[in-house]
Symmetry: C2
Subunit: 146 residues, 2 copies
């Protein structure tokens, strides 16, 4: 797994500035919260979770702003959106290398993993079918071994 706390890592707020996004107080709060998904790779908050945390910092941040902000950040390629089986979308900071997810169906815990072999296979399969891969998602729903 990539070293996410490398001295070369650019924080999310810096990424926003680089992309020319206006940094309002609200956005700073939300971006800061999403920053936690870098340190804690198991943390994939949904909009509701983000909003609940955001209002503890600034109680007048509306949920509409959270929705607008995550959409903005997603379009700017700063965060990724995931739609695991469960209804609502979850977000995490974009990482340098692609990773997939293993979801513990009992606890709901989400574990990230990287497997070079499976990444190569995805490209190979697409190619075999006459396609170029532009995006992909692999989710493993599992139970802890006994």
């Amino acid at each position: 797994m990539l070293n996410k706390t490398s001295p070369f890592a650019v924080n999310l707020e810096q990424k926003c500035i680089n992309k020319g996004l206006r940094l309002t107080d609200q956005r700073k709060v939300i971006v800061k919260l999403l920053e936690e998904t870098i340190a804690d790779t198991k943390f994939h908050p949904d909009v509701d979770e983000l909003h609940k945390r955001a209002i503890t910092i600034d109680k007048k941040i509306s949920i509409a702003t959270v929705y607008r902000t995550v959409k903005l950040l997603e379009e700017a390629n700063i965060i990724d959106k995931h739609e695991f089986k469960a209804g609502k979308s979850r977000y995490e900071a974009v990482t340098e290398t692609h990773h997939d997810h293993l979801i513990d169906v009992n606890s709901g815990e989400i574990i990230e993993f990287v497997d070079e072999e499976i990444e190569k296979l995805k490209i190979k399969i697409a190619s075999r079918l006459g396609f170029d891969l532009v995006d992909h998602r692999l989710e493993l729903y599992c139970k802890k071994k006994k």
Copy 2:
């Protein structure tokens, strides 16, 4: 790919009977429509598509019934539900072997594929992380090669 028209194949209506599901006129219509997903592996209708087709056969079938029926069939393991990037859920008859999906991001076309190697890898990765695989999904979003 599995031969889906083998003489041993059981049709969906028969599967419903085997599972003891009550076969109302509405359910027969919906099940018949879902049967088409066996012959045409690229056909993965959503509830709205099923309803539009259903009312051409019996105009008083409500969309609530379609929702209730696909949920019932899914719980009975007769059909599978997919949630590709696009909002609504799509359905197809359960197949004997697991397959994954390649989605053409330009046309929306869905292509099914089976790859033994990747299936083994999924199990291996889950195992390495201390888990037993209970469900999994892999989606390749692609563009046609030029």
